[in-house]
């Protein structure tokens, strides 16, 4: 049994170790994808053979605040040489925030042959594993994408309003100061891009970082995660849960934990998150 399997996850196969990735660098059935917050990082060196999928540039509509559509996703997959049978393995900086966000976007299009490299970029680098500056090129594939499905794992503003009115569980994964609405002391700085601070009424506060081991960014064991979410936040695997943060990046990390590591049936990421809710006229806010 691998170390990841020993952690007791419901779907341990969705998480792979750096060692696993290292042994699959030349596997034609695998496409390794780096997704970072820092736009300069990939070029400084990446897992050999990894392509870059930039969340802003590659996954977002350039005009509307929305994700790319079927045609855009299809073009992306063809460009990086991914077929329906390719398993994509995501990793990145910031404890895999953007890697899980890219993973989540890929799920909107149903590409479920997807994994996350535990510990992300920093674990790979700290283990002294090779970093390559060369940008690889793969033959274009003939990927045919499905239409984007926003119903299953994505929540929108009106659904969140109905959710809170029905007193269903919400998880706010931001820091305690963001959750409480504590203002920054110098008013001329952007306050998380929102006019109002606080949280969605009824949301439990479970900062995303509590799900990872601080020394290497790996995910905690199932037992530790259950204590956090089922114990502290009092949510159960059968619950209908909505998670959010500021723009959905940290909450995609929590979505990944709840859905794949703890086996929750219905978790949706509210990607509008606080940059939408905190600027929305008339919605309730709690502090």
């Amino acid at each position: 049994m691998s170390e990841i399997e020993s952690r007791g996850y419901v779907r341990p196969e969705v998480l792979v170790s750096t060692e696993w990735v290292a042994s699959h660098l030349n596997d034609p059935g695998i496409r390794i994808i780096e997704s970072n917050e820092d736009p300069l990082l990939y070029a400084t060196g990446h897992v050999p053979g990894a392509v870059e999928v930039d969340w802003t540039r590659d996954l977002n509509d350039p005009v509307r605040r929305d994700y790319l559509g079927r045609d855009g996703f299809e073009a992306l997959m063809r460009r990086i040489g991914v077929t329906k049978d390719t398993t994509v393995v995501f990793y990145g900086d910031r404890n895999n925030w953007w890697a899980t966000y890219a993973f989540w976007v890929f799920q909107l299009f149903g590409h479920d042959k997807a994994k996350i490299m535990d510990g992300g970029r920093i674990k790979w680098a700290n283990e002294g594993r090779p970093l390559d500056k060369q940008t690889p090129s793969y033959p274009a594939s003939d990927y045919k994408a499905a239409e984007r499905d926003d119903k299953r794992i994505r929540a929108f503003r009106d659904q969140v309003l109905q959710h809170l009115e029905a007193k269903k569980p919400l998880v706010d994964v931001r820091s305690p100061d963001e959750y409480s609405g504590k203002k920054l002391h110098m008013p001329e700085y952007p306050n998380e891009g929102a006019l109002r601070g606080g949280h969605i009424p009824g949301a439990a506060s479970v900062p995303w970082a509590k799900a990872v081991n601080p020394d290497d960014g790996t995910f905690k064991s199932a037992e530790e995660l259950r204590a956090l979410y089922e114990g502290d936040a009092k949510i159960k695997p059968g619950d209908d849960v909505i998670v959010y943060c500021r723009i959905g990046e940290r909450s995609s990390h929590t979505w990944f934990v709840l859905t794949h590591l703890l086996g929750f049936d219905k978790v949706r990421n509210y990607d509008g998150s606080w940059t939408e809710w905190g600027n929305l006229v008339g919605v309730p806010i709690e502090r």
Partner: protein, 148 residues
């Protein structure tokens, strides 16, 4: 008010590099020149009032007054992968240290887009813009102190 000359020069140099890959490499090279705030000015743990708000790379800004009333700007970036923050810090430090405080105070946070392009995630741009904002705010305080 016009931008400080050195900042104008830096932005023009970056704009002359239209190829995205070359610009990224240039910014990486700039980040490679990053030098942390000297210990005579600040040591860890750095004071929270110097921390750049909304910057996920945990960056800090410090100032050191020059005899002519201008400021030297120094930085710390705690995130070892904070390449963009380091690049921005080098650009700001080189271009704005020694510039008239009133000019620095009016530098727009939008220069972040002139440096990195428009394809920045909201979180990344907010952190970098916050860094510019903090430098401008510190310069504004200095300008007000000079005139009073």
């Amino acid at each position: 008010m016009a931008l400080p000359d050195k900042l104008t020069d830096t932005l023009e140099t970056l704009e002359m590099v239209p190829d995205r890959g070359e610009r990224i490499q240039l910014l990486i090279d700039i980040a490679g020149r990053f030098e942390e705030v000297p210990p005579r000015l600040a040591r860890r743990p750095f004071a929270k009032e110097h921390q750049v708000p909304a910057c996920e790379s945990e960056a800090y800004v410090f100032t050191e007054p020059r005899p002519d009333g201008t400021l030297d700007f120094h930085f710390a970036v705690e995130n070892p992968q904070g390449i963009s923050a380091k690049a921005m810090a080098v650009i700001l430090g080189d271009a704005l240290s020694g510039a008239p405080p009133q000019q620095v105070a009016e530098v727009s946070q939008d220069i972040v887009y002139q440096v990195f392009g428009r394809e920045l995630s909201m979180g990344k741009s907010m952190g970098l813009m916050s860094m510019v904002g903090m430098v401008a705010a510190m310069a504004k305080k200095q300008a007000e102190a000079k005139s009073s």
